[in-house]
Amino acid sequence: MPATQNRINDFVLKIGTVNGTGSASANGLLMKALFRMGIPVTGKNLFPSNIQGLPTWYEIRANHRGYMSRSGRVDVMVAMNAQTYQKDLNEVSPGGFLIYDSTWPRESSLHRDDITVFGVPLSKLCNEHFEVARVRILMKNVAYVGVLAALMDIELDLIRTLLEETFASKPKLVASNLEAIMIGYDYARENFSCPLPVRAEKMGDNAGHILIDGNSATGLGCVYAGATVGAWYPITPSTGVMDAFKAYCNRFRTNPETGEKNFCIVQAEDELAAAGMVLGGNWAGARSFTPTSGPGISLMSEFIGFAYYAEIPSVFIDVQRVGPSTGMPTRTQQCDLMLCAYASHGDTRHPMLFPANPKECFEMAVQVFDLADRLQTPVFLLSDLDIGMNDWMVPELEWNDRFKPDRGKVLGPEDLREMDRFVRYLDVDGDGIPYRTLPGEDAKGAYFVRGSGHNRYGGYTEDSDEYQDVMDRLLVKWETARTLVPPALLSNAQRKTPLGIVAFGSSDGAVIEARDALAEQGIYADYLRIRSFPFGQEVIDFLHDHETVFVVEQNRDAQMKSLLTLETNDIADRLVSITHYNGMPIPSECVVQGIARHLDAEAAA
């Protein structure tokens, strides 16, 4: 039996339960209690595509240094699901702990010598205490919160306060939940030596931070951006974006006296229609968007190409999930880069933004509308399931009340009055962006939107030169986009190094932790986090300034590496891929091992 190290405020707690048994609220309670003890914490929900009955896990990482990614360890496992007991047992790191419901015996073959196993008869205790069958199931999951509170020194007072806040309108539930917690707590105190060496310890109050999932932050960002038309078709994992937009709009945009709403949400018949509504809404002058996932983008592709060529501002939020096809809808990936970058038929290319956490989801959900309006083109916000549906601890969201949205080049009736004639697709400023007008304002501004050939004046054309003139001007606009999208963020190593790491989105946390771990081994790498496409000069410079650049991403085919190769010159030979694509969020050890393995192989060669 290996000695267990003291792991104070540095552990992974994983809980395996059955979907639909109320474990989500129990796990949320644990997570929030740790957060209020001032410990940096993240929670990852690993769940099936199912409403009730299948196995589900929740993984809480507490880390005093603030690491947010998965580490690859499991220090304490709560195995409530007999069906997955063997798997859960195997996953515990040596020296770790496993807690299970000992009401029913486990097979003796299911045993490990290098960890400590605690049996707590949770079902039996709850059955003795509670009458109703459904309540017994729910309370069994609340009772393990009590066991963990005793074993890991999680403050009971905090748990009580949280229960009171959660069930403010249902005080009876506070009492019954507390009873269940005390059942577990007392049993652990009486039967085990508490606390464990793996435990929590109050380290502050996490002031200035919040717990939020990326979809909620994105929906809130759309509200703050002034979006009024939301069109969508339900699809996991993006549904939470529209749920949040609707909830926040109901709160902030509904006239309390008349009940009238300053927004319009349309649940479309499919993603094709949702895309059409986004185009129609933006064309008519309201900020309009759709949240979806990869399969939805596939379906929207015809309209995306239309919007590119007809130059209609439009916002597409893609919360990525495993592909291809319908894939594993409840698992995460960064797999739609190529799809979104060049979505649709013919020559098309689209700006993309890559938020790395919920705070950036909020900020970029505002930016994406400004970019779409300014550039008059489809712009993509690429989040993923890990960011979108998991709870992240991030600095508080901020808002500057002096912010004015950039609605781009829109001519109103007064502007038109001063003009001899309005033409739609003429680049008068040299930035590749023409002026547009809105329907319903002035007959002088009328023009005809068409996906077919049009010339720079907006007239129908099948003339080769006139068509090519428009296509070439769109490339000028692309160069303008390059200067407007958020730049990549550079973090230099403590010393000069020929090694670089490029990553984006939710891979950020794994790279941050991996760089620290590698530095301890004497391996230093500069880090550039790409936040948008098209790539700015800073990306090209970074690639040229390093002999070897590791491109970390969560898809099989190295899509970011492909984009970098396609969009920049003479750098392909220095790019080394580190990919992770099993559907789980990338752990930091994947990055550490990928880089170490490459350097070892190079040294041996």
Partner: protein, 351 residues
């Protein structure tokens, strides 16, 4: 160049509408459809109807999908914004546009391929949402731009130009619309301007999704013996069940009508559709009666035209959604943005 602007000539003594505009002000570019195309007659009827209703050109949006029919928005009201979108998806773009600006007057022009094949889903769902628009189907039973394939509205037993017989059942847009809960359903014939113009006006006045199916012969690919969408066949088999007239809010109903033959249907804006019963058997307020009548006449070989069903009491999209009365696009940013204090307050619940 297939886009030809019509010269604008002001003739003295031209009639002007309430806005001081002449009928020429409601025209568009020169049509590039075949000479004699039914669609051009419909365009002319639209021009006259919109002029007579004194609709401000800038208040109008002209929406379409793909096909011969979908080209026609370029041929009327040059002072209105137009949107020639993708095949079968006009209803979704119209939905977005009207979501953004509920004050727009929306005329959507589709065809039988655009609405009954590739766009059948959107056709159904725009009816379900009861979007406030005129949804016109210029129905010729054939794919013209791709040279003569049957469309889903081709009647069983009818023949293509090269002799092929259609053995599949057709999709009947008016019966489908009535059964799906449409609030205004009418059918007409491009060669019957006398009936078509008032139907267009009534459809625009209707506060919801008005489906207007217009049989519009394709002179190039579907005007032969054996076609059931030819000028000759339709003229011979036309059966007018009802007619309609629109009386604007400001006007008095001056027409004398006899009880049971002309029925006034009051619209929300105060205008009145006068429904004229041609066939005394017809009941435009009952879905089962309308469907039964249509089927009976179809079996007898007739093409029923007229205002077939209307229910102006059902709520349109914005009434259902309780959207603000002002167009969303006109709301000031300050009204939409909750501000920094609200954000601080909101986040107290996230700790």
């Amino acid at each position: 160049m297939t886009y030809i602007a019509k010269p604008k000539i002001d003739l003295p003594g031209q009639k002007r509408n309430e806005l001081g505009l002449t009928e020429r002000d409601y025209e568009g570019a020169m049509s590039t459809l075949c000479a004699g195309c039914g669609h051009d007659s419909i365009t002319a009827a639209l021009v006259q109807a919109l002029w007579e209703m004194s609709i401000a050109p800038h208040q109008l949006v002209k929406m379409s999908g793909i096909g011969c029919s979908s080209k026609t928005p370029a041929y009327f009201v040059h002072g209105a914004h137009g949107f020639n979108s993708v095949h079968g998806r006009m209803p979704s773009v119209a939905t977005g546009a009207l979501a953004a600006n509920r004050d727009l007057i929306c005329v959507g022009i589709s065809g039988d391929g655009d609405s009954l094949s590739i766009g059948f889903g959107q056709f159904g769902h725009v009816i379900r949402r009861n979007l406030n628009m005129l949804y016109m189907i210029e129905n010729n039973g054939v794919y013209g731009l791709t040279k003569g394939q049957f469309s889903a509205s081709a009647d069983p037993g009818s023949t293509a130009k090269k002799g092929e017989v259609n053995e599949m059942q057709n999709i009947n847009p008016v019966a489908t619309a009535i059964s799906m809960g449409a609030t205004f359903v009418a059918r007409s014939f491009s060669g019957d301007r006398e009936q078509l113009i008032p139907l267009i006006k009534a459809a625009i006045a209707h506060p919801g999704c008005a489906i207007l199916d217009v049989i519009s012969p394709c002179v190039t690919f579907n005007d032969h013996v054996g076609s059931t969408k030819s000028y000759a066949y339709v003229r011979e088999h036309l059966h007018r069940a009802s007619g309609a007239d629109l009386v604007m809010p400001a006007d008095e109903i001056s027409v004398e009508y006899r009880e049971g033959e002309t029925i006034p249907v009051e619209m929300h804006d105060g205008s009145t559709i006068l429904l004229k019963k041609v066939d005394s058997e017809y009941d435009h307020t009952s879905r089962p009666a309308a469907l039964g009548y249509l089927e009976k006449q179809r079996q007898a070989g007739y093409v029923v035209t007229g205002l077939l069903f209307v229910d102006e009491s059902l709520p349109e999209m914005h009434a259902i959604a309780k959207t603000a009365q002002a167009p969303l696009k006109d709301l000031a940013f300050d009204e939409l943005n909750p501000g920094s204090k609200a954000l601080v307050e909101l986040q107290k619940g996230l700790k």
